[in-house]
């Protein structure tokens, strides 16, 4: 294949990937109620957003859920990642990978049936428990890959030079995998704050999150306020990605 054709088709695909998102960003500044022609620049839709109590509440919920879920799943995921690296296990590797491989809708509906069966009231609690379930695997994979990049003889050297297993872990292994753990935590945070499908099934009527709020706005009446919240959400994600890639360049490919 000639180099020029290749470059041209490559660039065309990049345009295909970015143009839709750029359109959303552009329309968030458009002084018109319709997502059609460009009328003029305005901050109006961001002001509307800031006065939208339901949206702000949903944003608060999303933040709370993402912080809690990422904190717990980082601890569990780090343990799982370390266990996968350190021991020959049969069940855990399957359980860590399976929720990532199975269509999200199936995870969502099975959790819904589960919560109803055990009489758990759907709401923030059920959303957090569900988010932890699918974030653990992602954290585990990031931590495990960080561990397998580490020279195996480093913790052994610490033992050899007089450190107990726990001291060797604390002084050598933990500092070395810390970038992986932080990247895993950021990954869990973004996955949680962005999740729609599983949240959709496990939220019940009481609690709303940003993605749920966006969904109902798209379904009921599209207003450029959606463009504004989408743009902000993209900025937040982009910021986290940049931070994560600085800390651990491999981690962002995990998704």
């Amino acid at each position: 294949m000639s180099r020029k054709i290749l470059a041209a088709s490559g660039i065309a695909v990049y345009v295909f990937l970015y143009l839709p998102l750029l359109i959303v960003v552009a329309y968030s500044f458009n002084n018109s109620k319709l997502n059609a022609e460009w009328v003029g620049f305005t901050w109006h839709w961001y002001k509307v957003l800031l006065e939208d109590d339901a949206m702000l509440k949903a944003a608060g919920n999303s933040l709370f859920i993402a912080l809690t879920a990422s904190a717990v799943s980082t601890i569990l995921g780090t343990m799982a990642g370390y266990a996968l690296y350190r021991y020959k296990l049969k069940l855990l590797p399957v359980l860590v990978m399976a929720p990532l491989a199975i269509p999200e809708i199936l995870v969502g509906v099975s959790l819904l049936i589960f919560y109803v069966s055990i009489n758990l009231t759907l709401g923030l609690g059920s959303i957090i428990l569900s988010h932890i379930a699918f974030c653990v695997g992602f954290v585990a994979i990031v931590v495990r890959s960080r561990l397998s990049g580490m020279d195996e003889s480093l913790p052994e050297a610490a033992r050899d030079l007089g450190a107990t297993p726990w001291v060797a872990f604390r002084l050598v292994t933990l500092p070395l995998i810390m970038p992986g753990i932080i990247a895993g935590a950021l990954l869990a945070f973004t996955l949680s704050i962005d999740d729609f499908v599983i949240t959709f099934f496990t939220a019940g009527v009481g609690a709303s999150t940003l993605p749920l709020q966006i969904y109902s706005m798209i379904k009921i009446a599209v207003t450029p306020e959606v463009n504004a919240i989408s743009t902000l959400l993209m900025l937040v994600t982009l910021f986290i990605i940049v931070v994560a890639s600085r800390i651990s360049p491999d981690s962002i490919r995990g998704k």
Binding site: R3, Y14, A36, M79, A83, F114, F196, S245
Partner: protein, 291 residues
Amino acid sequence: MNRDKWLISGPPLFYLVVFFVIPTLIMVIASFRYAGEYGGLAPVLLHDANGTHLNLTLESYQEYFSDFIYTRLFIKTLVYALITTFFCLVFAYPLALMIARSEKKRRDLLVLLVILPFWSNFLIRIYAWMIILGPQSAFTVALNGFLGLFGMNPVRLLFTPFAVVVCLIYVQLPFMVLPLYANLEKHDPALLDAAQDLGANGWQRFWRVTFPLSLPGIYAGVALVFVPVLGIFAVPDILGGTKGIMIGNLIKQEFLEARDWPFGSALSIILTLGAMAIVGGAALFARRRDV
């Protein structure tokens, strides 16, 4: 040693058993239960004059196979997934090849640029197509103007199967680019020099060397694109209208609107088994071809 192993792997294992394995098992059982009077599920154990007995049924599965409409929806979902996979491959291959053949220091950036958009919220990516394909959008207006030149009637793009497939391609494309790139990047450039040295022209070098060597990457990409599409419901829900629905929409409907949970569970299990059969069959096929 053994104690440490359980101390470390125990908590995550416990969590995943409770919040993944048990829900899955409950769903399997739910597919054999009767629907509750007001939605949800009827009790598993029934107490009556004859004592206590299991209250299970194959009704949900019988319902699926009694009406061809469900199988047709399943086949339609498969067709959407196939079309999506095909176009993802067609779009992703040149891009992956371009990245793999660019300078080493630029590759990471180019890969990052592929990943970045799919870090944006899933709904936003769907919503963007709602704007692009909307009746007043520049794209739709231009397209209909063009069709008008040939005396054809204007077409509607939003809320059609077309909108669903375009958006599916859009959201799944990175899953095809990444495994393809990972494969193509490993190719030894000397192979192409050798092929050229031995008289192959550019086209022949691609079809005789690059393409066959990239087959494992293609298989991986196809699996990564195809399987998730089977379960997707948000894309058709937002862009598909009534004609564009897929099996995922039916599952959602059974759980949240019709509230026939046993049937919804049965659909989920049929979907899982179907997906597993397809992936398993494809893997077998791929292995046979490799040997």
